[in-house]
Symmetry: D2
Subunit: 343 residues, 4 copies
Amino acid sequence: MKKTFKSDKEKIKVAVLGMGRQGQIHSKNIAYKIPEAELVCVSDISIERAEKVGIEGVELYDDYKEILERDDVEAVVIATSTDTHEQIIKETARAGKDIFCEKPIALSLEAIDEVLDIVDENGVKFMVGFNRRFDPTFMRVKEHLSNGNIGEPHIVNITSRDPKPPHLEYLKVCGGIFFDTSVHDFDMARFLSEEEITEVYATGSVLVDERIGELGDLDTTMITLKFANGAVGSINNSRKTGYSYDQRVELFGSNGCAIGNNERPNRVELTDPEGTHKDVPLYFNIERYPEAFFGEVNAFIQAVYNDEEPPVTGKDGRTAVVLSIAAQKSYEENRPVKVSEIG
Amino acid sequence: MKKTFKSDKEKIKVAVLGMGRQGQIHSKNIAYKIPEAELVCVSDISIERAEKVGIEGVELYDDYKEILERDDVEAVVIATSTDTHEQIIKETARAGKDIFCEKPIALSLEAIDEVLDIVDENGVKFMVGFNRRFDPTFMRVKEHLSNGNIGEPHIVNITSRDPKPPHLEYLKVCGGIFFDTSVHDFDMARFLSEEEITEVYATGSVLVDERIGELGDLDTTMITLKFANGAVGSINNSRKTGYSYDQRVELFGSNGCAIGNNERPNRVELTDPEGTHKDVPLYFNIERYPEAFFGEVNAFIQAVYNDEEPPVTGKDGRTAVVLSIAAQKSYEENRPVKVSEIG
Amino acid sequence: MKKTFKSDKEKIKVAVLGMGRQGQIHSKNIAYKIPEAELVCVSDISIERAEKVGIEGVELYDDYKEILERDDVEAVVIATSTDTHEQIIKETARAGKDIFCEKPIALSLEAIDEVLDIVDENGVKFMVGFNRRFDPTFMRVKEHLSNGNIGEPHIVNITSRDPKPPHLEYLKVCGGIFFDTSVHDFDMARFLSEEEITEVYATGSVLVDERIGELGDLDTTMITLKFANGAVGSINNSRKTGYSYDQRVELFGSNGCAIGNNERPNRVELTDPEGTHKDVPLYFNIERYPEAFFGEVNAFIQAVYNDEEPPVTGKDGRTAVVLSIAAQKSYEENRPVKVSEIG
Amino acid sequence: MKKTFKSDKEKIKVAVLGMGRQGQIHSKNIAYKIPEAELVCVSDISIERAEKVGIEGVELYDDYKEILERDDVEAVVIATSTDTHEQIIKETARAGKDIFCEKPIALSLEAIDEVLDIVDENGVKFMVGFNRRFDPTFMRVKEHLSNGNIGEPHIVNITSRDPKPPHLEYLKVCGGIFFDTSVHDFDMARFLSEEEITEVYATGSVLVDERIGELGDLDTTMITLKFANGAVGSINNSRKTGYSYDQRVELFGSNGCAIGNNERPNRVELTDPEGTHKDVPLYFNIERYPEAFFGEVNAFIQAVYNDEEPPVTGKDGRTAVVLSIAAQKSYEENRPVKVSEIG
């Protein structure tokens, strides 16, 4: 042996809080794929679950506060349960660490505004995890806009349907379909068009599972969008396709139209006497968005590393919630709601 | 020579009124492709244009009333200018002849109702020319519903965009985008889903040509639909793609999702260093819908021949106009409009 | 009535010999779709079958010789059984009429050469019915070559498979798969590449139906081509796909690659839990090549009308047979055969 | 901190020899993605290049023999230059370590046979790196055969073209296109069809770069295959597409036809007035086959871990070379060559 490999690159020390499926994905991406980062520790309220990190030498905590006290940790990825985001962001900001947080920031506009104020006051970087912005297909659609291939945006159509509904327990706490599902699509509509949404009209039904209706929620929805430049848009959501994740976008403009289609597990077509068959699209977000999960965390690390503004801001996270609130109000009052009504 | 061919099939004698592009297409289909029909005469206010029929032996009139007086003509195809439909349908019905008429029946609900009453009173068959119902792609989408492949309809999305705006002169008299363009899509939404539309919300902008706005019209629109069974839908229209006719439908249901895509002139893909390229979709309705133009007239002739109800009724024509009125009202008042408000 | 329509265009008077399926298609195209032509008469050895022409006023013969004696007939389409081509071409040429003949011209090279000599001597136009040259997809592939999009041709791949084998009775007289099936593909390879084939290697098996082997024929073959410019190619044939006609071509060159895919009856994709499904390609040549059947006859009529050379010559017909002979010899001797060996 | 993560899984200690691009890929896959393996050390004749492993704590050697002397190393991945494979396999086998080796095993059949004998004598596991067998698209094509969807294989077509030729220096030592490129396709043909190839006919030209011809090599080839069950096949190779890696397969059988198409970087279609455009396929093997590079090494590790036969054997590696030799001989003698002639 001549020597043992040791990187001479200075690395940002990162912690991941919450070791659910998303936290595990972030951990592996940070540890293995981002040379500018080092995963030093993770936490979970269950230390057994913290073990799921599965990466040699990573330190495990059952109390994230201990991590926040560590001077060496510079950046924190928050992948804990939704109802803890507000509190943990505040504490992390006050500890002076840069923050990547899964959406949503918090459950009310007031809480979000308070959180963003504290982030600002403490001068830490803050990025919200709208992973789909980093999907290669959706990025390419947007690039066609940036390149001028599409011209001015005129119509945005987003299809976003889950393979099957989440468990009832989750449905009870997720805030409803507009906050849980459409929120991603609102962000996508803004991202793709580079325009702000000024008005929303939402309608919907319970067609998949009547227990969803009993919770006061919807499972099949159609949202109309009006953009600042006069463009129009639609978002259709369903809690159940039966086949797989159905995630497609269309951006139509004055010069052309870009369509981002579903990913499939392979490029095989079988023709037999019944027809020509392809495999169904990838099953759900874990299967569909691996590049996006990597891309978002990498973008965050690079922003920290280069001392730049992260590409998805707290304002982006806030705006998506504002739009969800507008959609909910629109549905309840069965009328178009101006975004300026919400704040 | 042993003999001269003469069909021994008894044929329905048909006249076509109006020898614009549509009248010419109907004439050729009737004369050449429908063994149960014989094209005996055509009319146009310009006898020069009547010559465009281009079929040996067909008799030409510059006054359609003379045709209505002929006892031998059993069925009449009305392809005259829109503003004459109301009057000519009435006269044709009173002359006791079966009627195929291009949409729209008339320009107001009152007029339509009066027309349909006269048709009823005279006991003639009546069919409205919603040609897209006979497009092989859209028929196949609907067939997937009938076959149970889609299950219950949940979401209907219709994209319907013209390659370029019509002339200003036409725009002035066409009644606006909801009556001129969306009317076809309303019919398609009902046709595909086999459900009635109960509520409409329409929004839109002038993004293509400001002269369209000066006429009080729109060129880019998004319409939200609510169906009797709770399904939701969207229709997006544009007066200008720049590339070609963009006519696609999607029917998503409890068991599956059928998408009807655009037709192209060939099945060639060229790959070069810039990408993989296909030719643009077919340019406009004349190029896209030849099978549909044949199919609708053939369906009419077969209904007359077999003494059956034509597959697109006066009520279908009326409902599409009701929905257009609802869309217009929705846009003007910026609120969802129940179809029952219109009548 | 003001008048009766009568075309003022001078028309070529055409006869169609043979009223099988192909003769009927040619007759309708000539009568209805080509303004420069008039179908005056048809023949068939069965006068009942001649009735199948189905076009009012066309004169019917059971002896084609009577047609050849008519002075008014200028152009003749020969769609009789293969074994009669040689004799009828000669007689028609001697009668001084221009000739469109279904392939093959004759069954031996000697016979073909004699036929072509007689055609030459009598100075009539002569075109062989390689319909696929007029298919919009294959024409577009070749156009990409002409436009320079492909550059110099390097590789040609042709897939040509029937949905099911013909009847045994037909198989006995068709001359074998290289003469009956590959002959079209040899012509296509020359047409697409604009290069002559200089060497052929053919191999194959009996995998579909052993009765085909008992006839000394093959049902599954692979032919390697070498072109004058050094390009290489392959043709794969099968007598049975089980699904439908499988007719695809690929032209790969120094700048790009054009692929011509199968036609399907519609543009619908259904996604259900089992996958995403399209309908099978169109069933057989009648369904697949309607534009090509029109295109070839129209090209012939236009050549006669404008006194130009038809786009598919007797030499083209001869060369395809030469290549079939070379393939047969190659298979029998299991070695590559230079085309110059055949003549 | 409660604890530091340490896997309790017993792991196979692995070394990677050669730290070129392929060695780096194997190293990362072993270190990060295969829980049953631990990358303990790597070697390269250049210690600077060994640094490229880029994984903390891995030990670096400039002499692989030192690694072979380590008792703890159980499995070795050989990714050194082609001309060293023969020698290193022998030494590694004699050191009693399981072996994964990039193709080819050696450059002559005699050498291969000697190597395989030594592997056998030493009772170590041995796997050859035909990575494409682990590509999700090609695996799915084969799965359609295993599932019975295709029936008996009748025709295999393989397209395998590089984006651009390798450097002349590489071309001089690679053994020629049949040994360097087609060898992968021979293996693919056997893999997909589950049939042995019995006869080969190869032809080709120099169309891309005449310097390739000056080396006595070809750059554009077509190979005909005959399989034991009577099936036929074709392989077409080119050293230059100009666009990207063009890697497609087709398996046609008695029940159906499966086509494996190229991968692209995204699922976007842009339609503008010029046409509908997709991005070109992925550029080269590094971009196209990441799952396959992981899959092959993972399959090897799992075989070692579970003490099973690796899925690609020394015989597979040998057969691909036999077929390359047959192709070379066929080209040189311009005749079909029976595989049994080679040995």
